[in-house]
């Protein structure tokens, strides 16, 4: 009897309506946003590597800052862009910003303008926004030969040949570091085309989905450091002692993860109970290999 009741209880649990799950998800993720609970954030070695490369820059060095993402992953990558841009301007590094996505222009402008206002930087001297250029692989290679030929004009049509910031900087040879904040595989191609072919040193900030593929590039030294997902942003914000959206988001992030794990556990308990009670659910297909 007990097995029977336990079976029905759990099987009833797994047939709960989708919208109840959505409501639970909303409440659990939103709740921590109301009460600021900041948890200590330990810094991993890949973020320390990223921080080391940024701190090694000195005033007057040139950096290429690539906004390689679109609004769909803005929530994950904007915190990184803002933190790194702040730090670069604070160190009086000259920022050559660009994007390889058509939607990247609308993302880069607010980040650049708010950081420039805060550190009163002059457009054309301290920073420039070259904007979008079609054909990302061709752009990565062309920048190795001449930045001004790749971008005859900046995002707003101003002639790049007369810009002071680009007077002494026209290819990867003159660029100390390339920062790719990216939501796709473009970081890997920066490492292949700019890093491998032209020897450009690269660090990157990646969405969590993409970060898993950056570990091999970090271990082999092709990428000198990277930030992975919102946790990476939180770690970097902690490293430069400027907690912002990354650190504040950790509470909700934690609750969200716990809820998902709870769902997986309950879902599987229901599944096991149903299987033991012989209702079987969808029949499994036996055998090894990629069998799941």
């Amino acid at each position: 009897m007990a097995g029977e009741k336990q079976g029905t209880l759990l099987s009833r649990l797994t047939t709960v309506d989708r919208r109840v799950i959505y409501l639970l998800m909303t409440l659990v993720v939103a709740w921590p946003m109301f009460k600021l609970v900041t948890l200590p954030v330990l810094i991993s070695k890949e973020v320390a590597g990223f921080d080391r490369e940024i701190e090694a820059l000195t005033a007057g060095d040139h950096v290429i800052f690539a906004f390689d993402y679109e609004p769909d992953v803005m929530a994950e990558l904007d915190p990184m862009s803002r933190a790194v841009m702040d730090r670069l301007f604070e160190k009086d590094v000259e920022v050559v910003a660009l994007t390889l996505y058509p939607g990247g222009a609308g993302i880069a402008q607010p980040v650049l303008e708010s950081a420039a206002r805060e550190h009163n930087k002059v457009y054309g001297e301290d920073y420039v926004f070259l904007g979008y250029n079609p054909d990302w692989s061709g752009t990565m290679l062309r920048l190795g030969e001449s930045i001004k030929a790749t971008y005859p004009a900046d995002q707003f049509g101003r002639d790049t040949r007369t810009m002071p910031i680009l007077a002494d900087c026209d290819s990867y040879k003159d660029v100390k570091l390339l920062v790719s904040i990216c939501g796709s595989q473009l970081t890997e191609y920066w490492a292949a085309l700019a890093g491998g072919r032209y020897g450009q040193k690269i660090v990157s900030g990646n969405t969590a989905v993409q970060a898993v593929f950056i570990y091999p590039f970090y271990q082999s030294g092709q990428i000198k450091g990277f930030l992975g997902g919102l946790k990476g942003a939180a770690e970097y914000e902690t490293a430069i002692e400027r907690p912002a959206f990354g650190v504040r988001g950790m509470g909700s992030q934690t609750m969200g993860h716990l809820l998902i794990l709870l769902f997986v556990v309950i879902g599987n308990l229901g599944y096991l109970a149903a299987r033991r009670a012989g209702t079987g659910g969808s029949g499994g297909v036996t055998g090894g290999g990629g069998r799941a």
Binding site: T14, V16, R18, I21, Y22, M25, L39, P40, L42, S44, E70, P71, D72, V73, M74, A75, P102, G103, G106, I107, Q109, N133, P134, D135, G138, T139, L141, R142, E145, S146, A149, Q155, F156, S184, E188, R197, A208, V209, V212, F213, Y215, P216, Q219, G228, K231, M250, T254, H257, L259, I260, L261, F263, V264, I266, G267, N268, Y271, G284, R291, A292
Partner: protein, 220 residues
């Protein structure tokens, strides 16, 4: 001749030149290489525009033929032409950037925020430890999920001067087994991409020359 063999010949010449140029730092080759890259960016700009033009034509046909969903195609058509119109008043300030900041960006971000809900309901109703493999996957996923948030570092103990926690276990998973698996996949993908490139240059791979409808792709 003009329709079939000449494009393939152009492909072979362009491909062989670019592959050879990597190894030959001759200034004459470099000038052609730079020009080819500039041409390529202009051509790619046109290809991307073609994608949008065929999208507009696709919706125009649905409206013209009163096909089902014609109203929604009309919405897409009108908003597309209106956005293009606003660009004539400047793309740095005004309505054009406003449409991006206030309409496109938030909706695109929300469309993908939906995925958090789909993952939640799938975690509850679909992700089953149906085999040893799926169980291993879910276990590793759980450790990484807990390890990559601050509480992951709290759950653990200190021994031999080191911190042994869910956080350090998650980092180890990402640094060793996951890295080895993704490296194996990277090598396989790399070899596959190179052999496809070789077939394109030799003119025996022609699928790309066929019709591509230019509908564009989704986000992974």
């Amino acid at each position: 001749m003009l329709e079939r063999t000449l494009p393939i010949l152009l492909a072979t010449v362009a491909g062989l030149f670019m592959a050879a140029q990597f190894f030959i730092p001759h200034p004459a080759m470099l000038r052609i290489y730079n020009l080819a890259l500039d041409w390529k960016q202009i051509v790619f700009g046109c290809t991307l525009m073609l994608g949008v033009v065929s999208l507009i034509r696709f919706h125009w046909r649905k409206v013209a033929r009163r096909a089902p969903g014609a109203f929604y195609s009309g919405v897409a058509l009108v908003s597309c032409l209106a956005t293009i119109g606003t660009a004539f008043f400047g793309i740095e300030t005004g309505l054009y950037p406003w449409l991006y900041d206030r309409v496109q960006a938030p909706m695109q971000a929300t469309l993908f925020a939906l995925l958090a809900y789909f993952v939640a309901s799938a975690s509850y109703r679909a992700f089953r430890a149906r085999s040893v493999h799926a169980t291993l996957l879910l276990a590793a996923g759980a450790v990484v999920m807990l390890g990559r948030v601050p509480i992951g570092d709290l759950i653990g103990f200190d021994a031999g001067g080191e911190r042994w926690s869910l956080g350090s276990l998650a980092s180890w998973i990402l640094d060793v087994p996951s890295l080895a698996a993704k490296r194996g996949i990277l090598i396989g993908v790399g070899l596959g991409m190179i052999s496809t490139s070789i077939r394109i240059i030799l003119g025996i791979e022609r699928a790309y020359l066929g019709q591509s409808s230019g509908e564009g792709q989704g986000r992974s």
